[in-house]
Symmetry: D2
Subunit: 366 residues, 4 copies
């Protein structure tokens, strides 16, 4: 199936394997006239690059992006924006061992079951490098949102047992874990060092807050804004749960505690007194900040020995060698932000066609 | 936007408002030759009917389905299956009050913001009655899955503070709350009576387990099986979180505890020793049971007074009158099951085209 | 496959068989605030009704439409518009003969090959009655276009050997053949009487002209306006060719004769001196009238004896009995117009999102 | 809008401008296990290359393809196949003149109207070079079809007033015009020389015949095989008409002459005695050869002076300079074949899911 596209109007198609010639994305449906340059994309890609901290894989990946089409004289033309990142640092090595068995927690087995064989070099299409296309596209979507005053703030909320207690936006970029709480970051670092010593890995939670979002984005039934955000976030490898607003906690809440009362806002506007809903009501953005969370599983590649089977189905014990992060979470921050931006850009464009008033604004005020 | 369709090959389109002429669904892409009759659909619709317990709204809704097309001589023909449920018991009443203000926790405000006005009678398109089309379609998908030996078991996992402690499948239909634990059901009933006395409502969790699923369903990138399940479940009104397998708990797990070792299975097959993953690896079904959960918020319509604003933005205090369930969860059980079945049927059909071996099996073994 | 939907933003899903309970359509994505009532739809449906002339089948079909959803207080709400036409006049008869063989020129054989069996009553899903859903939806699209000053004029251009020589718009509704040339209509009538006497049938050409279309509709590559119009028109049963502008004639033209020079228009606008292109350049509407044609094959059901085979593959000779038009063309006029209107409405909505200027017009002028 | 994708299961996304960094395509949904290498693609690309005859533009374009992903150890992996062709021979020249006015018959004006500005270098996205992505993807689709014994034969049927009178398949590659009739080719060559002397250009017709196609491809309503072929062919720049089978000629035919009688075939099969239908009945392939035609307009770029307006709307007279073919038709042959192959590959995959028998063949015979 054609499963590498995402979005309806603002639509992306990603491609590429971990150890092939390169990876990339085609962004189709971006409106004409958006200022865009390679630097806009590179800033995003640099946020997902490994080798930035002791908890990230030491391999060096340049991940330099080239815009191949869709931009002319510094602005998007309305035609597809194709972006390419060449694979440069993939060492040639012997993959015959990894080709011969199924790593626990990885997609080796399911790829073989689905396709009959797999590109076993570095995980192929199910590698974390697959997110390069998402992030490059997310940079374009973020640029579009920014022109309308919509901003996304994304960070690590928890790592293993360590959850942030305070929120200082300026802290996010001050630590390698992207935590908005310096003390939590220090505590989480210590925990990760412990994991590494144990040849183990840790999970965590990424949170994203969107400010400046207009009302009206999202549709009432299957295309609810939160449903599309959920799909977007759950399509990121290693994500096992998605929450909007209070998330799982609503299960033990009551209507009285969970409902957000409406209040008169400024200039005749209406606002909510609280935001348990996380910015959506009935699947449509309500003008409050959008709040979502992704639970990310621990890196499945660990050095300690694990039981598994080889391709012949015989039990073996394996230690996954190679350069692996003990935690995926910090590198997933920009991926969560990118997928969120993509959903919002698409919903923004779709919502333009919701009323005859808008139709007339475009065609008869022309 | 055309937001009332779901699925790609096995595709449904729902329509209808709470107090309009009726509600329905068109199921398009169902393979020809599936035995199907109205009774198959009615059994599913009856599971979501209100008026079945003291915790469900006392209004009587017959919700009798009529199959209008796509079935001939007891089998699906491969053409669209249109199903209709007439609205019969909607009392004519005065909606002018509800039309004049915004109910907290409801979509009244966001509909007005998006569309400029709304069908305010009983919630219109954002009513719980919107799920009728989903459930009718889910019955068809479930029938298809059943012919391949795939079965879904769905139940209430928790209500407010009460979570099941034991799992007895035969109990699920023995209590009005659809809990597989008789003691928990009794405790939850007591809790709900308390909520009602307080003019309050409760949230809860629905869980679904799928057995007999083949490997290979779902795609590696955006069309991951869990991503599509997440969208499906999060598109149900009132759902605020989605978990697959261990869900949120993976955030505090380690790689060693979270990885599922592979083991030799029967007849040369391979199976997993545990199932933290919940039946998917890399977005593709792995042959283990699929396990997912939906967190459902408390019914927003409560009788106790709440603050809100009217359409003019003036603060008022309101008590939502009418027949409202103090808990949505038990009626959502069949909706979660239906949406899950729809995703699986679609993924099953899509996966048929994954390999040249399959293509040849259809065209050259003909 | 889910093949009964058409359009992307303004999207329709049709359903129903000739002799089932009824036929209908769900129109999803129509902007909120469009005035709409059943009379708007009925006017269109009446144009495709049989029994209006001696060349149309004498069967009486009321084809009364019921709007089931999506309209509130006389205006579209932005939610799906479901429309239903009950089958009322289908006589119960013995279909065992028609079930036993394959009618030449019909889809009997291909349905059996594709689906394994078929609803053989009156052609089932491949009956001309399938167009009821298209026409009901086309009425909605036409209403939308009309509010922007876009008008469609559709008529019979030729029947068998008889082609119109003059164009008098007022004539179109003055003859049962919908020809804008009274003399040609008389000549065509005589030809059709001759066909009927011979137990034969005739083909013809439908032409549609669209005035008032803005520039910019359609996309440069696969979603060219003319490509989508072509698909729409060719999806009508019996259509075997599609032309835009000069159509087939461009093959023998030269660049000098075929190019349309640009000229200064009124108020600083630009217009074309001629319109060989038929209103599109590079797949995008150019502000000139859109001109398209559909070639429609002769009714395959003829009373004279034809060779064919039965389901067992044995050769037989058959005479198709029943009430069949000797010509499909006049009844196809409103179907061609409906499909054209659907493509244009969709392209209009999509084009709103083409530029950042439009995005800002909606979101920052709000 | 996201208008650069085509197909549903076997889905392609093209990108690139005439004078940008390059052009390419992502083929998503190709089944795993299809043998594929760059040579397969290059053979197709070479058929559309200019500089092969005196009637083709003398510019040298290498158009060397690189497969960037989706192929491993010589076989497709089921993941997206990304292909890249760098633009190498685009001379740097002064485009300020062409940027300042609207060429008749080109998309300059409509791009400006739609997007507000345009990449004016060599036509940008509306250049004939846009077809590189289509042809590279078509090569993959053709490879897939060939493994099932399906073959496409495509050729020039007419050029200006010269139409083929005989059909000798071996002749097609023996002349630069791809005509299956050596005499017609000679006559057409003379005609084109005349056009060139007159600083003029010519249109023509491309015809494609598909042999070996199974029955059952295509869907009964909007996704008719001929409707999708029509869209595919009409989405090629310069195509102004599409015919299937007898095409426009059916308009003057009678039912008796146009119906194709069924006959007993070999081994209990059924075949048609004639093929006016061109291989489809009711939108579904009937096992006969598929026959389609595309009418292609004369190259709009001609050296003789033409009237037009500049961007300020002032009338001017222009002579289009540069290297332009006096005829597009021969280079369009492989494009028509590619688009046909893409539609057929998609229809083949979709049709696999049409019956429960097929579903069981994949899942229970496993």
């Amino acid at each position: 199936m054609a499963g590498s596209s995402f979005g309806s109007i603002f639509r992306i198609t990603t491609w590429g394997e971990s150890h092939g010639a390169g990876l990339g994305v085609v962004v189709d449906g971006c409106p004409a006239g958006l200022p865009l340059c390679e630097e806009d994309i590179q800033i995003f890609l640099n946020r997902r690059k490994p080798g930035q901290s002791k908890f990230a894989t030491p391999r060096k990946e340049d991940d330099t992006v080239e815009i191949l089409s869709g931009v002319f004289e510094g602005k998007t033309t309305g035609t597809p924006i194709s972006m390419l990142v060449r694979n440069t640092s993939q060492r040639s090595r012997d993959y015959s061992e990894i080709a011969s068995y199924y790593r626990p927690g990885h997609a080796d087995y399911t790829f073989d079951e689905k396709y009959g064989f797999r590109d076993y070099r570095g995980g192929g299409r199910s590698s974390g490098r697959e997110t390069i296309g998402r992030v490059a596209a997310g940079a374009v979507a973020s640029k579009l949102l920014a022109t309308l005053g919509i901003s996304l703030t994304t960070y690590t909320r928890s790592i293993g047992p360590v959850t942030i207690k305070t929120f200082d936006r300026t802290q996010i970029d001050q630590n390698k874990l992207y935590m908005p709480d310096a003390d939590a970051a220090a505590e989480a670092s210590a925990y990760l060092l412990h994991c590494m010593k144990e040849q183990n890995s840790s999970g965590g939670i990424v949170e994203c807050i969107v400010n400046g979002l207009p009302t009206g984005l999202g549709d009432p039934v299957f295309e609810k804004l939160d449903a599309n955000l959920g799909k977007a976030i759950l399509s990121i490898g290693a994500v096992k749960a998605f929450e909007i607003g209070d998330g799982m906690a609503v299960a033990s809440a009551t209507g009285r505690s969970n409902n957000d009362p409406f209040l008169p806002g400024e200039n005749g506007a209406i606002r909510k007194a609280s935001n348990h809903a996380g910015g959506v009501l009935g699947g449509i953005s309500d003008g409050s900040p959008l709040i979502l969370r992704a639970a990310i599983k621990p890196t499945p590649s660990i050095a300690s020995f694990q039981d598994t089977v080889n391709k012949q189905g015989k039990p073996i014990s394996v230690s996954i060698k190679g350069r692996h992060d003990p935690i995926i979470v910090p590198r997933a921050v920009v991926v969560v932000e990118s997928m969120t931006a993509l959903v919002l850009a698409d919903a923004l464009l779709l919502n333009m066609t919701a009323t005859m008033d808008n139709v007339k604004k475009i065609y008869t005020d022309k």
